[in-house]
């Protein structure tokens, strides 16, 4: 039986960890390597680094940050930000990533997912899907895909896109609720539910998780892993204490 993974996320800009609300108003949270080391020690099961300004600046996530974090940690590292080609993905793996997340470029050119999966395996190809509620009737699931760090609404149905991505080879969906990001109001359980219906691959719930109760609800809705950022950066919860609480709630976690 697989344990539910608890994953701290480092949103990085200019080599520093930042965090905002709905992808905006980013505030400094510290040094990525230092935070990464602390999180592994506290019991993090995996780490995600998202270079939040890479796409806007037309570049790939900074290798230097990836390398510094890699040297510090002996748990899996997923890196996203500005990946447009399988070569970009390969360069991030060389820099120290284990898995690569793609978002905007895959929406624009879905074959990118199969290119990464064919070359590096499905477990390496993570689709970062930023979803937001929509009244657009062409989105049957009620959720649409956002790209460019949440700044562009695409009108693409989130469930349909996740299904297509999994068929192309995405081995995991890193599912972020744009509406809940940074709000601490709980994961968007309806969004998790529609994506769970659509794909057989693992789902990482992201956006809005503030305590163990939120995480337990996300797992019940179909998530295989839970990601959070500000609650860890700002010291509301240590990962160890969070895992104690999850265990009390009946969620299987690695101790």
């Amino acid at each position: 039986m697989l344990n539910v993974r608890v994953i701290p996320c480092l949103d990085v800009r200019d080599g520093r960890v930042v965090k905002g609300v709905r992808f905006d108003n980013l505030a400094d949270q510290g040094d990525p390597a230092r935070l990464a080391r602390r999180y592994e020690r506290e019991g993090a099961d995996e780490l995600v680094i998202l270079d939040v300004s890479a796409t806007a600046e037309g570049r790939v996530a900074r290798f230097e940050t990836v390398g510094r974090v890699r040297d510090e940690i002996s748990i899996p590292l997923t890196v996203g930000g500005g990946v447009r080609t399988a070569e970009d993905a390969g360069a991030l793996l060389e820099a120290g990533a284990d898995r690569v997340a793609v978002n905007t470029a895959a929406v624009e050119r879905p074959e990118l997912l199969s290119e990464i999966a064919t070359r590096f395996g499905a477990q390496c190809a993570v689709l970062a899907l930023d979803g937001g509620a929509t009244s657009d009737e062409t989105c049957a699931s009620g959720f649409e895909v956002l790209t460019h760090s949440g700044s562009r609404r695409t009108g693409v149905d989130a469930a349909e896109w996740s299904r297509q991505a999994a068929e192309l080879g995405a081995g995991e969906i890193l599912l972020t609720s744009f509406d809940r990001d940074g709000t601490r109001s709980g994961y968007d359980l309806a969004l998790i539910g529609v994506i769970r219906e659509a794909v057989p691959v693992p789902i990482v719930a992201s956006g809005g998780g503030a305590h163990a109760g939120h995480m337990c609800a996300a797992v019940e809705a179909g998530a295989d892993a839970v990601l959070a950022a500000s609650i860890f950066h700002q010291g509301d919860w240590s990962i160890g204490r969070l895992k104690d609480r999850l265990q009390q709630l009946g969620v299987a976690v690695r101790r």
Binding site: R5, E46, R70, S74, I75, L93, A97, Q123, V201
Partner: protein, 227 residues
């Protein structure tokens, strides 16, 4: 110690660059143990290194094609057959087998009898995350523990001639194999935190030396005896 071994020193850990893999994560894990791993670039290098790591991310067909194209397949096979310190990770374990459902018709290295199959779809595939490994008594390297997996394929049953630790994801699969100085892990020791670091350390410390008289044939029945 021979002059040749003096020259390379006790920190001689070589990594086989199998085309595509998380080589840096593997290298970082050995650096944390005080070693200075280097990338190998020849069959001779693979044969002569004290410790060799065959990492694995990617596809069975791609991995085998790369080993054969570069003329490295025999060097890896030779080490494994002789029980010399060799660590195969994830796809690396699968490459040691005879064949894989992932690439019908592509021959593996054939050191481990058996065919790799796709994991049961009753669970999430790929298997991504921390799962329990049960090791039998008497292993040198492998221990019962919780370690990190990222795989869609696996070997279903412990192969003859190897000591196998098992895992379960829908159905049972081989989580790790050991024989002499050879350690093959379906999981990623380099990504398994302290538990993984401990395993890598045991492999470095407890492996029979490169020159030790390990006799693999003695541990498994000959073809004639098996018939």
């Amino acid at each position: 110690m021979s002059a040749a071994r003096m020259a390379t020193g006790p920190e001689d850990v070589g990594i086989v660059p199998t085309g595509v893999a998380n080589l840096e994560a593997v290298a970082a894990a050995f650096r944390r143990l005080g070693r200075t791993p280097r990338l190998l670039d020849s069959a001779t290098g693979i044969s002569s290194a004290d410790y060799v790591v065959l990492p694995g991310v990617g596809s069975f067909a791609g991995g085998m094609a790369e080993l054969r194209r570069r003329g490295w397949a025999e060097a890896v096979r030779g080490r494994v057959e002789q029980g010399r310190p060799t660590l195969a990770i994830c796809l690396g374990l699968q490459l040691l087998c005879e064949e894989s459902e992932e690439a019908p018709g592509t021959a593996g290295l054939g050191c481990v009898p058996g065919r790799v199959v796709r994991l049961a779809e009753s669970c999430r595939v790929p298997q991504l995350g921390w799962n329990r490994v049960a090791a039998p008594a008497g292993t040198v390297f492998l221990r019962s523990s919780v370690v990190y997996f990222a795989n869609s394929y696996g070997l279903e049953a412990g192969p003859a001639g190897w000591t196998a630790a098992m895992g379960r994801h829908g159905s049972r699969f081989v989580a790790g194999l050991e024989r002499g100085g050879v350690l093959a892990c379906q999981f990623h020791p380099e990504l398994s935190g302290k538990v993984g670091a401990g395993l890598l350390k045991r492999w470095l410390d407890e492996s029979p030396g490169a020159a030790a008289a390990f006799e693999p044939r003695a541990q498994r029945p000959t073809l004639a005896a098996a018939c």
